[in-house]
Symmetry: C2
Subunit: 340 residues, 2 copies
């Protein structure tokens, strides 16, 4: 049985490990803090559409290709998807203009997007604030409980809780680097940088208005916030800070998240605080991941930025194809060689 | 050796236990969550002066009597006091009027209080915001690291981590009830109620302006906030909510603390969030504690409200005097019988 070392026990690494195990590889996953990186901190959106923006067609197509794999992926893992879609709201006129750009671009790509009147928004999500300048319904974007996913993916996988400093020291026939923001320390000159994000996990307290049924994204005076419902709770994210390796939640980050969440869902003030966390997204210069072969023994699957969960099933398929010597064309835009 | 059961491992209970052990009692402390109640959550202010208000002369005198015991108490425990005093700032005209009332009342009681000009405030505490309508320097109010105090007090004390449901079941010659907000469940008809408070513990991040050298209390558009410095950090408290037994931090509580702290110390936005906690102060109808004998076997030492840490050394002395059959006159205002 050929052996595979996967470096990184996040959504991408564990998906690769899970998929490779089913394909007959003997897999070991290495991570100093298994399942506690960006995938753990994340909100769990699977949102190629509302993450989209003019000019980012490659990202849209990658995301849609992976989203198409999600229903079967989630079903096999016993991890239910939240498929009621996503609502996007804009607070002021400039925020509304941003929604117009997004809606026009999605229309142009033939994706379903509906402009909601205030009355329609109120009917769809009665607990939201009133008076938004614009609202969209994007039924094609979903969400998943990322922590439940990590738990499901890790079942039966061999995980070694140690830091890998040297890929050459790993005793395996093939190595896949899925170390997210830490990948740059393992592979010289890799164009992956940490992009800090802060996030709140909240509990709905008795008597408080319930959270929305759908994921809600808000553009609040130019700043972005998302609210992802969970059973009995809500995840509110996320700040975006280019501050290097820094996993400490700041007072200012919490302040901004709370202010923007309250602008979208006033009842959030009455919710309980379960945790505040920060994570490091693995950013790349063109906001596309790095998926493909680096050398005879090493495959890269990193740099997924905000979209590691969304892209995990497609990335796992692409890595398996690469290991089999038959690279997939549909991830060609993510080839690592594009920067050299 | 006579035996003593102390119910409650907070600042008051542990102080009683520590003092009684030194007086020759065999002491056992009972608490389902030792050292994790209101004393743990607290900010650590020892502030009879800036907690004062016209009409609350008994509370002032109790507090000053206990504060006078603190230097020796702290020295014996190896727990340093922060004795640079307290600065009080008021943001708007009504807040300034509140400071005037406080200053006039302290003046009238012969306590040292100085009105600071903006220039003087800036010289004393340069990292504070500018433009306050009023500022006071109250050198007589101090602070202590409450968690270090609890650790010091618990050294060598026998603590049983179990809930006491029935005082009669305790195998001890005498029993002291120091169970704070939980005391009402142990003693029928005790006029003690929980008063929820939320608090933030912060870390000063590299590059951020340092915290103030003194404790700073702010009156911010009628709301009270305090900032208590710690080595490398800052404690920001506290909300006050009459919501029964509820130890969950709310989004709105965090929002208010952060907003008010930023109004006093703008740099706080750059600090890191170490923890957010909520605790239950033991409130009484007249805001004075309940210290004294309940029956032949039971002494009460509870209901200390916001002032459990401040009043711990005096309370311990008063309980020991009660156990010795020689009640102290200087805690007469706290006698439990006053409500019956």
């Amino acid at each position: 049985m050929p052996s595979l070392a996967v470096v990184g026990a996040g959504a991408v690494g564990l998906s690769v490990a899970w998929r490779a195990s089913r394909a007959g590889w003997s897999v070991t996953v290495h991570d100093p803090e298994p399942m506690r990186g960006a995938s753990w901190v994340a909100g769990g959106m699977l949102a190629p559409l509302t993450e989209g923006w003019p000019g980012q067609t490659d990202a849209l197509e990658l995301g849609l290709a992976s989203l198409a794999l999600w229903p079967e992926f989630a079903a096999r893992l016993g991890c239910p998807l939240m498929t009621r879609g996503t609502v996007v709201v804009g607070v002021d006129a400039a925020d509304a203009a941003e929604l117009d750009v997004l809606a026009g671009w999605l229309d142009g790509h033939g994706r379903e997007v509906a402009r909601l009147t205030r009355r329609e928004l109120r009917a769809a999500e009665p607990s939201l604030a009133q008076g938004f300048r614009a609202a969209l319904d994007v039924p094609g974007d979903w969400a998943v409980d990322n922590r439940a996913l990590l738990a499901a993916l890790s079942t039966g996988v061999s995980v070694v809780a140690e830091q890998v400093h040297d890929l050459g020291a790993l005793a395996a026939d093939q190595v896949v680097v899925c170390a997210g923001a830490a990948s740059g320390a393992l592979v010289p000159d890799l164009p992956v940088r940490p992009v800090k994000g802060e996030i709140l996990r909240l509990r709905v307290r008795p008597g408080a208005l319930p959270p929305p049924a759908r994921t809600v994204r808000g553009v609040v005076h130019g700043r972005h916030v998302y609210l992802v419902p969970r059973p009995g709770g809500l995840v509110v994210g996320a700040t975006t800070r280019e501050v290097g390796v820094d996993r400490e939640v700041t007072v200012g980050g919490v302040r901004d998240l709370v202010a923007d969440a309250e602008a979208v869902l006033p009842a959030v003030a009455e919710y309980g605080v379960v945790s505040v966390d920060a994570g490091l997204r693995p950013g790349t210069p063109d906001d596309l991941p790095l998926i493909g072969r680096l050398d005879d023994r090493t495959v890269l699957a990193t740099g997924h930025g905000r979209n590691g969960l969304l892209l995990a099933p497609l990335t796992a398929e692409a890595v398996l194809a690469e290991l089999a010597g038959t690279p997939r064309d549909d991830v060609a835009c993510a080839r690592p060689g594009r920067f050299t």
